[in-house]
Symmetry: C2
Subunit: 239 residues, 2 copies
């Protein structure tokens, strides 16, 4: 089976003076997270969608589900953990109550990236089936520089080899379980990205093609951009 | 002396179906590049501003200067080169006709980053005077991944050490001349970033603090964001 996993553990501290976590802010006629859930629910290869939400917002999310997806039997809600990987782990524990196949796939996605496409999800599923793990990326638009001392540049990597990570990130569920349980507490405290965790344990993470429009709504400016992008996709005038 | 150098060599092929190079597109009541030139002209420490423009757009830029900055004696226009470093070299050749001091400083800036601040320019001047070279950066917001084979991830650098490069990039002019002339043709063909060139020749490039709002207008979406940002700075309602 193929599971969609919507990661909504955050409470949006970087968004400035909005009272709601960013995934609940309205975008067009529905909250950002509802756009995301809908994209996964309508995808022909996704069997079930599990949302991992911060416990404080559990009831709020339940109410949204009731409003937008009443009687949707393949949509589950679980409480997220303290970080990204533990939220994925909580979601997988819930999935395991329903399916225990070694070739089950999970397609994890940020609740604040509403412009994910059917093609990105399909490509993720194909790559995760074939290679076990994949990450969605785009070529970096900015020049990236490293500084280990935060005073001067210690390296500028070759630009054509640099990518910006997006989501979805997808894996065979069995592989995630094996790798996650092999991590020490210290490793889990420092490795916040699932793909980095796989790399640490010696696995190859394949690249799926993202898109510049697949933005993460982190700052107020991103939220404004998202509103414009939605407007133009709905046929409003661009110029 | 302190020189501002506005780099406008590009013709904006990534902007989609706009007929003008992006630096000439209107933003509020004047073209993007005019916002940039104005920021440098009004800065109390900048003695002179030199614009490096693609030769095809030389007359167009001259007309803009005549319109927005008539009789401005400390504003010069030169033809840019085939890449970023050669455009800086052309600008420096022009500067050398007017000043040959070893401690002259050049503050180079993208013509399509209209939200540079007085503070960024001031910080650049301070660092370039003290250390010889600096680059304006912000902490990377996206996870950056590295792939040498473009199939799977070969490295994920530690996030807190990763920065996105912006501009201004500033240097002692004498240092740029020394380093640029020490580069082989092959090196110049592969190293398109001035800071990377300094690093290649063993110099330390210090970090100046940029800001997320100091965006580069590369894609149509950036142009839309810039229009919104200008609107909000001019007191229009954000929400």
């Amino acid at each position: 089976m193929i599971f969609g996993a919507i990661l909504a553990g955050g409470t949006g501290s970087r968004m400035g003076n909005y009272t709601l976590p960013k995934q609940f802010l309205p975008l067009g006629d529905m909250p950002i997270i509802i756009h995301v859930v809908e994209k996964f629910l309508v995808h022909p290869k996704i069997d079930c969608v599990v949302i991992g939400v911060n416990p404080e917002w559990h009831q709020y999310m339940l109410d949204l589900i009731e409003k937008y997806f009443p009687n949707q039997s393949n949509l589950l809600l679980v409480d997220g953990g303290t970080d990204r990987n533990s939220t994925i782990d909580h979601i997988i524990c819930e999935i395991r109550k329903h399916s225990q196949n070694d070739d089950d796939i999970i397609v994890t996605h940020d609740a604040v990236r509403p412009f994910v496409t059917v093609k990105m999800i399909s490509d993720n599923i194909t790559l995760a089936k074939k290679y076990g793990i994949c990450d969605t990326v785009i070529p970096a638009t900015d020049t990236i520089v490293y500084s280990e001392n935060h005073m001067y540049i210690t390296d500028i990597p070759i630009r054509k080899n640099v990518y910006q990570g997006q989501t979805p990130q997808s894996f065979q569920i069995k592989l995630f379980e094996d790798v996650y349980h092999a991590m020490t507490k210290e490793e889990l405290d420092t490795v916040t990205d699932a793909c980095k965790m796989f790399m640490l344990k010696g696995h190859q993470v394949y690249l799926a093609e993202g898109h510049v429009s697949n933005i993460k709504i982190t700052y107020a400016d991103d939220y404004k951009s998202a509103q414009i992008m939605l407007g133009s996709m709905n046929g409003e005038k661009m110029s």
